[in-house]
Symmetry: C2
């Protein structure tokens, strides 16, 4: 056996014997290596994990090894694994199983304890972009009349039942379960056993904690965490009843996911389609290519209008891509900066004047510089001062259009509620291609022939 494979087996053994920090990502990576080498070896090592580790690793496995795992593990074992992880993770896991094996998912759900099953069913109601989908139902809550010693009992019990859940804050709820406050454990440590939580809240200069509703957009929740440096937020229902919490580690994941959507959007790729089978990804990407084909054909039609000009001066054909490429590149620079600043909340439509002025200055500066360089190269290449002048003028004007369009298109789309990351670039390149070809060939027709 290859020494590399042995290394991965050793890692799983170390986890099994609790000799090191458990990291589901690393464990899943090692198991995937084993899977590529020998699926049997993969399965025997996967089987060694305890319920909780198994559940966490299953969430990190790619599609293929996950299929093998869920087909070979018993529904009973899968139910134990789902119970051992946090409720939002269990919901994710069952969702992944449901995609291809709806009956198995139901079977697993029926084998779970009533309490855990209820939590998963509750969480399954929310869509991907709602806060509820990322909420853990496990949390520690005391009533105002409870004493510090009562809270100590609660902690002991919570630790027994929910060993994997971090305890970050103590929530305080009234008799109807409505959230009335929250306490840091460091503060709690400073009070005597018989002090009531109500007194603790008063003495620590308590403020009403920030809360969100389960139907709130997850993007708003992420914004709250970032702006207020939160590590936990309480989720409450319409009547103010505490129903769950969202914790910092989900925020790391959510930021990454929002960023993936933005990067993919700029290139005409959809993150959900990319995670699906190849055909789903291909069809989504194809739709983008078809839009681009339609857009570029308009630009082609513009060129075709000048066919006589090109026939009499063929060098123009060789220079068309230069005009298009520089306009497209300069425009994408302005567009990316604008899309980014919109996403980070640094600019909005209403206060975009400064941004537009800055982009205009940059593009004036760069338009002058790059047009001059291109004009020089064209003069050396073709030795025609008039052609060189036309290149300079067309590039300069196209860069101005590119800079302004690259700023205004995302601002305008954002203003009317369309995601600028997804739709901006196609409008931009269509604008710069059509304008660039038109102005270049028009000038050529006027001055060259």
């Amino acid at each position: 056996m290859k020494p590399k494979i042995q290394k991965h087996i050793n890692l799983i053994h170390a986890i099994h014997e609790q000799r090191n920090h458990f990291n589901p990502t690393t464990a899943a990576k090692s198991l995937v290596k084993l899977f590529d080498y020998d699926p049997g070896l993969f399965f025997s090592n996967l089987g060694k994990l305890n319920h909780q580790h198994l559940g966490e690793v299953l969430l990190e496995l790619p599609r293929e090894p996950l299929e093998v795992a869920i087909e070979r593990l018993t529904p009973h074992r899968l139910a134990r694994a789902a119970e051992a992880i946090e409720s939002d993770e269990a919901t994710d896991l069952l969702q992944r199983i449901r995609e291809h094996h709806p009956n198995l998912a139901e079977k697993i759900l029926s084998l779970m304890s009533a309490a855990d099953r209820r939590e998963v069913v509750e969480l399954s109601k929310y869509t991907d972009d709602q806060a509820g989908a990322y909420m853990e139902r496990e949390f520690l809550a005391a009533r105002p009349q409870d004493s510090v010693v009562d809270v100590k009992h609660l902690i002991r019990r919570f630790r027994q039942h929910e060993a994997s859940s971090p305890i970050i804050k103590l929530f305080v709820t009234d008799d109807e379960g409505r959230l009335v406050g929250s306490v840091h454990f460091t503060d709690l440590l400073l009070f005597e056993d018989d002090t009531t939580i109500e007194t603790v809240l008063e003495k620590t200069g308590h403020k009403r904690p920030l809360t969100i509703r389960p139907v709130s957009p997850i993007a708003e929740v992420v914004r709250l965490f970032e702006e207020y440096d939160l590590n936990i937020i309480a989720v409450v229902n319409k009547s103010g009843k505490l129903i769950g919490r969202i914790v910092y580690d989900d925020i790391y994941d959510m930021i990454r996911q929002m960023e993936t959507e933005q990067v993919y959007g700029l290139a005409g790729v959809d993150d959900e389609a990319e995670e699906g089978p190849f055909r789903q990804a291909a069809v989504q990407r194809l739709s983008w290519l078809l839009f681009n084909l339609a857009a570029i054909l308009i630009a082609s039609a513009v060129i075709d209008q000048f066919d006589q000009t090109i026939a009499s001066y063929v060098a123009l054909a060789a220079l068309l891509p230069v005009i298009a490429a520089l306009g497209g590149n300069a425009g994408m620079q302005a567009l990316t900066v604008t899309v980014r600043r919109l996403a980070l909340g640094e600019i909005e439509y209403s206060n975009a004047k400064n941004a537009l002025r800055r982009e205009a200055k940059i593009v004036l500066f760069n338009g002058t510089a790059i047009a001059a360089v291109a004009g020089l190269v064209v003069y050396v290449w073709f030795g025609d001062p008039m052609l060189s002048f036309i290149v300079v003028a067309a590039i300069f004007l196209n860069l101005l259009v590119a800079g302004v369009a690259g700023t205004l298109i995302p601002l305008g789309l954002h203003r009317v509620g369309i995601d600028p990351a997804v739709a901006s670039s196609i409008f931009l390149t269509t604008t710069t291609d059509i304008f660039g070809f038109f102005i270049f060939l028009l000038l050529a027709e006027m001055f060259l022939l």
Copy 2:
């Protein structure tokens, strides 16, 4: 006065009277609105903030209002503000002041308390991409022989001196200050006042905490937080002495910053240059445009080689942008997915076979589809079956090249240690432009004339 402006003034008053949660981002935004309306109003409201809020707001202000603020505030007030915020924030603030007013920064530093000054000087040693630059020097540490009641005293003292620092974990250090363990406060709550920390560590099944060195790359630290779902990590020096900590809220910022770098890199923009004055941003963007000009001129030279072919069949000129655009777009889709998966650690050069196979399948599927559609449009447009066939063949072949290059270029660059986000796209479009124009015009020369 406009009602909108009054709203922003009210917000600052509410902060001053501590009537709401303080959010430096929101406060800074309101102050910027006041600045745009009337710099005097901006300054009078800024002046109302207490030391800590002032320090935090200064960090969030854009360049222009910051300049006004630091010129008008006394060095004494700025020193108090720097002392009131966390040491890593104070270091950032002094760094921002130092850029334009090096003497003022030194003056402020000299007015700070000896302890705070030492911390800032210490932190200033680290570069932007090192963990040390994001480290807070404030932390709570006890010795193993301390009792729970000793820790309670420590908490009270920490709260007095460092009101703004969150306490997340209790670090345990030996007499030389070396980190030997860490304890959750919820665990501490379960022990009697006279229990020693050593006993607490034993009874809670303590494992050695993860640590990092201040010279470690910050990207690695972010990876640790994400993979192990951390909310805090201890920073230790060469001999294991605890010197600081990095906390979850810096990780939110760092993820955003790393993502900004990646998105900007793909478009030839540099995030640091964009934060500088317009000329710095313009020059950086210009260098990217010059690279692109050089690349596209090679493609132009390819076209120029076929000038006779184009002169005899001018429709070719109109179709050149179609070949280039589709190759470029399909390639950027493959490239973006690959760059993203590399960044998220989902693929590496060594296990890229599956990724390459998938991209090849997608591009075969989409190349066939889009080439067929484009061929049909060209047939309807020009009525020439041979031209239509050439378009189909050139687009199909160029998409294959685009898919393979879009996958291999970032993998290869990553392999040799070059950031694929920054350099990939220029190599890709150069490849697809040159190959696309060459194959299209070669086929035209062979079959059309």
